[in-house]
Amino acid sequence: MTRLLSLFTGVSLAFIVSGCYESPSVTSYEPGVYKGAKDPLMQANKDQRAETMKKRFEMVQTDR
């Protein structure tokens, strides 16, 4: 229950219509270094992928 509450209190009421970008005050951790296998997805051309995804998003998830 506590966890659920924290999720919903974390919901912000202040929404600034124009400033929808990353907040500078992020949580910071001391991360470990990834020790697993390389993901081939990371080798692919990301900008091209971003472009494809953008099209897909417009097609599939907007109200047309």
Partner: protein, 959 residues
């Protein structure tokens, strides 16, 4: 050791997770983890599990993938389904974002249809019950044995002793063949789910303005300014419709929900009106009282297009805010506000579903909704209309093609003229068709002798009585001795213990279904039950009609799984065995026992003039399917492309022949568009005058009409009088001579009427006074099982009837008994989003079954406290007819004190007992539970025999 720095509120705790806090799903899910396959599945690691479960239906790398398109088989929204198929195996689903209906979306059911192709719990072979054990047999053996038994019964008792219960899951072609098969067998004892879902709508609405279907479309709801839902829980029953509804709401439309429960649809509404179950007419008249009182009605519209409203006014006067509250329980200001929202935000639409239809006076409810909309001038307008959401994926089509006991395809009725029309379409001798029926007249509903061929058959809601009733009291020679349940769940029908008895009395029970169903296990038959595995619609192809009357073409996704066969093939095999295949398939090509689907479409295209199922040829339907992305998602009109100007799926009526290229009618009765472009008037269905009053429209006609006033329906003679006869071609003249717009097989009369801007079916007023019905003006009548004894005297039910659809039917003799002392709680029922109908398919599908593992009853905390019931506890629900079911209590404020709700999709339990052992091996659904209708009670609509499943009484006690 890692350092973790977090902001206070988000600090992680040892709480066991998000799911813990919540709602009924969590509560239900947790409680049933050990059910069915769950126990086993839980013990397997993820990867192994995948293999064990999916049996090679997972996508594989390096194999070509084909995309095939079908339509979801779970509800009438008609969502497009895109299947990925590898080597004939259905390995994936993609969103069909080109479909103007769903734009890629699905609900839980639609998102899981691939499971049909895995089908581990499906019925795998034909089976029969021998000495209480299931035995496998071949198709040939099964058809032979069944056929022989049918012929024996026919000889001994006549064709009416076999009842054919078909399905809203048939494609249009299968539905049409099913009705034709019953006709060739020689009985009207043929029916399907429409009887128990929207029969009161079809009867009520068609008798008001001509056709009994949804007038606008889900998409057109984008244009609404107000939307009122009565007895419709779209968020669970038509989830993808909510996409359009919420879009309307975001466009500023006001949303009102009237329901005994605070449903998930209500959670999205601007205004919620809680009413006591079974008081719809009272509520609507209570709203109309304010409308008339304040002069909010559309006077011009009414004078031009509505007949009989003054008689309604008299009735509505009685429904003062005080009286409305006394009957419905809805406070005066809440009702007034609803009326005001509808009056101030026009055009507005009304949506209703089973909450309104399933009552003894359901036909009154549906007509009162129509009257409300007529008074507001909302019918025949974009953004307005009566958006009646149908249930099953093809219940609209199966109704149109008439798997029904009281009519023939296209609502032609059962008169000799109708049979002659269809005999001409079938290219058969009428005398031969007539000879198939029992020739002895019986006493009909009105006490006069009638031929069985022209007499409404026993409806699905009453087949039990067709078995149990003494034949002396029935309108047919003998009782029902053999029953087909073909794609039809018995757990959607009431009176379980009597049903069990009736099943055990049958000589033969044949279940044709992809699953064994509740019917196979709920009785103690030892012999003479047959299970025939039918394919789902994903294993065949054909057309399907969505709620908005659009027809869509399905492609075949995969071959029939296991030994299943598509319905059309099973019907052909049966017809061949019974000796009428040559007549039934006279003009339909048959390839190794499978009739050619397109030929079936073409055949009904030739006969369905009444509702314009004539222009949608298989070629045009396929063209629409391929070019669906060219259709506008609000108007449904193709903008450019090969189907330019057509409306998606050519919503019926699509007048004339396919060559005429009528675009379909997206909005019924909209005179602002020419008929040739999808406009219409109200149908002149009830003559030209009544009591000396003119029934035709006055001063209202469709755009471009050459007759600038009302006019009757078109006949050959009328064309001659108008001087339009010579517009017909010589060939058309030959076929049209002496015929009318409904019976002219050339389509010429329709073509010429439309050429002159006229609607073939005439231009009349809608009628609010239906003089042929038991209550010409809809009035409130208390349910048969009512707790409000004080209201029975003021609002009594009907008198008992000696013969109604061939059977004695009780009203008063039940209502006059007071059950409310022992059974004080009002009981209503409804849908869950994960399941549908009898729920067999979905409860056998692990992706859905996991989400709803227990049959439950919603109980208000007040009642729970009074009864000493805890949340999650098992309880008994007892009915006044002495049936009982054992279910889990869910304590929630969703229902009001004194009212409980159960879903109706469960099955596989009977009066406290889990019947798992009685299923053929490996076919028991993953989730089983008590069928709520086991304990739902008697009660049938006074026009259509719709069952009263939305209000009864019960008692609850801890189990």
């Amino acid at each position: 050791m890692k350092l973790i720095k977090k902001r206070g509120a988000n600090a992680s705790t040892a709480a066991p997770g998000l799911g813990e806090a919540i709602d009924r799903r969590t509560f239900l899910r947790r409680s049933g983890v050990a059910l069915g396959g769950a126990a086993v599945s839980g013990a397997l690691p993820v990867t192994m599990m995948r293999k064990a479960h999916a049996k090679g239906a997972s996508p594989k790398a390096g194999i070509a993938t084909e995309m095939r398109r079908s339509i979801c088989t779970h509800c009438s929204v008609g969502c497009g389904v895109i299947a990925e198929v590898q080597n004939g195996v259905w390995t994936g689903q993609e969103p069909d974002f080109e479909s103007p209906f769903n734009l890629g979306s699905h609900c839980a059911k639609g998102a899981s249809v691939r499971e049909h192709g895995i089908g581990e719990h499906r019925l795998k072979h034909p089976m029969k019950l021998v000495g209480g054990k299931w035995k496998k047999l071949s198709w040939d053996e099964a058809i032979n044995e069944i056929g022989d038994k049918l012929m024996q019964i026919r000889k001994e008792s006549g064709p009416d002793s076999v009842a054919w219960m078909g399905s809203a899951k048939h494609s249009n072609e299968q539905a049409y063949l099913f009705r034709k098969m019953a006709a060739m067998w020689g009985t009207n004892n043929v029916d399907h789910q429409a009887r128990i879902c929207h029969s009161t709508t079809v009867a009520g609405v068609a008798n008001t303005w001509g056709y009994g279907a949804m007038t606008n479309s889900y998409n057109d709801m984008h244009n609404c300014k107000a939307m009122i839902f009565i007895g419709s829980n779209a968020a669970e029953a038509h989830p993808v419709a909510m996409q359009h509804i919420l879009r309307a709401k975001e466009n500023g439309a006001k949303m009102i929900v009237c329901d005994p429960r605070f449903t998930r649809t209500a959670a999205h509404a601007d205004h919620f009106v809680r009413l006591r179950p079974g008081t719809d007419v009272a509520l609507v008249w209570g709203m109309l009282w304010h409308i008339f009182e304040n002069g909010w009605e559309d006077k011009e519209y009414i004078s031009q297009r509505v007949w009989g409203l003054d008689r309604v006014r008299e009735e509505v006067k009685k429904w003062t805010p005080e009286e409305t509250e006394r009957v419905t329980g809805a406070p005066p200001d809440v009702v007034k506000q609803a009326a005001q929202i509808m009056a101030e935000n026009r055009p507005g639409t009304i949506v209703w579903c089973m909450g309104g239809t399933q009552h003894t006076s359901g036909n009154n409810n549906t007509r009162s909704y129509c009257v409300l909309q007529l008074a507001l001038g909302n019918i025949g307008k974009s953004g307005g209309g009566a958006n009646i959401f149908r249930g099953h994926d093809n219940v609209q089509g199966a109704t149109d093609l008439c798997v029904l006991s009281h009519s023939l395809p296209g609502y032609y009725g059962l008169s000799a003229g109708s049979w002659k029309h269809w005999s001409r379409v079938w290219d058969l001798d009428y005398e031969w068709v007539a000879s198939r029926f029992d020739q002895d007249k019986v006493e009909g509903d009105k006490g006069k002798p009638v031929s069985p061929m022209n007499y409404k058959g026993i409806p699905v809601s009453r087949w039990i009585d067709g078995v149990l009733e003494d034949p002396k009291n029935m309108g047919q020679k003998d009782r029902i001795r053999a029953l087909f349940m073909w794609g039809h769940a018995v757990n959607s029908q009431t009176r379980g213990p009597e049903m069990k008895k009736a099943m055990e009395m049958l000589d033969m029970l044949v279940i044709v279904d992809p699953y064994p169903t509740h019917a196979a296990v709920m009785n103690d038959r030892k012999d003479g039950t047959y299970l025939l595995p039918a394919s789902t619609q994903f294993e065949t192809y054909g057309s399907v009609t969505a709620s908005n009357r659009s027809i869509q073409w399905r492609d075949k996704v995969i071959d029939p799984v296991w030994e299943s066969l598509p319905d059309q093939t099973i019907m052909y095999k049966l017809a061949k065995k019974l000796g009428f295949a040559d007549q039934m398939f006279k003009n339909i090509k048959v390839n190794s026992d499978e009739p050619l689907v397109e030929d079936v479409t073409r055949e009904f295209n030739k006969g369905m003039w009444t509702i314009g199922y004539t222009g949608q040829s298989p070629e045009r339907l396929k063209l629409h399917a391929e070019n669906r992305k060219t259709f506008n998602t609000t108007t449904l009109k193709a903008e450019g492309g090969p189907a330019d100007g057509d409306y998606y799926g050519m919503p019926w009526p699509c007048w004339g022949t396919a060559e005429m290229k009528h675009p379909g009618t997206p909005i019924l009765y909209d005179p602002s568009t020419p008929v040739a472009e999808g406009g219409l008037t109200f149908r002149a269905r009830f003559g030209v005058e009544h009591d000396g009053e003119n029934l035709l429209a006055e001063g209202s006609y469709s755009k471009g009409s050459e007759i600038k006033d009302g006019y009757p329906e078109f006949k050959a003679d009328m064309l001659k009088q108008l001087g339009w006869w010579d517009d017909l071609t010589p060939e058309e003249k030959q076929l049209a001579e002496g015929k009318n717009w409904k019976t002219d097989l050339s389509g010429g009369i329709q073509r010429v009427a439309i050429k002159h801007g006229c609607a073939p079916f005439g231009n009349a007023k809608a009628r609010t006074f239906v003089w042929t019905f038991p209550d010409p003006i809809p009035i409130h009548r208390e349910p048969l099982y009512t707790p409000r004894r004080d209201l029975v005297a003021d609002y009594p039910t009907y008198a008992d009837r000696k013969r109604f659809y061939r059977l004695p039917t009780r009203y008063e003799s039940i209502q006059s008994q007071d059950f409310s002392k022992d059974y004080p709680i009002i009981w209503t029922s409804g849908r869950l989003v994960e399941y549908e109908g009898g729920g067999e398919e979905q409860r056998s599908n692990p992706w859905l079954a996991e989400l709803q593992q227990d049959m439950f009853v919603e109980v208000n905390p007040t009642d729970a406290n009074n009864l000493g019931i805890r949340d999650g506890q098992m309880v008994w629900m007892d009915s006044p007819e002495k049936a009982k079911i054992k279910v889990k209590a869910q304590v929630t404020r969703r229902v009001a004190p004194g009212v409980v709700f159960t879903p109706f999709h469960f099955g596989g339990w009977f009066q406290g007992e889990d019947l798992v052992a009685k299923y053929p091996q490996g076919t028991a659904p993953l989730v089983r539970g008590e069928a709520c209708n086991t304990a739902m009670t008697y009660g049938y609509d006074s026009v259509t025999q719709m069952q009263e499943t939305k209000v009864s009484l019960c008692r609850i006690r801890p189990a």
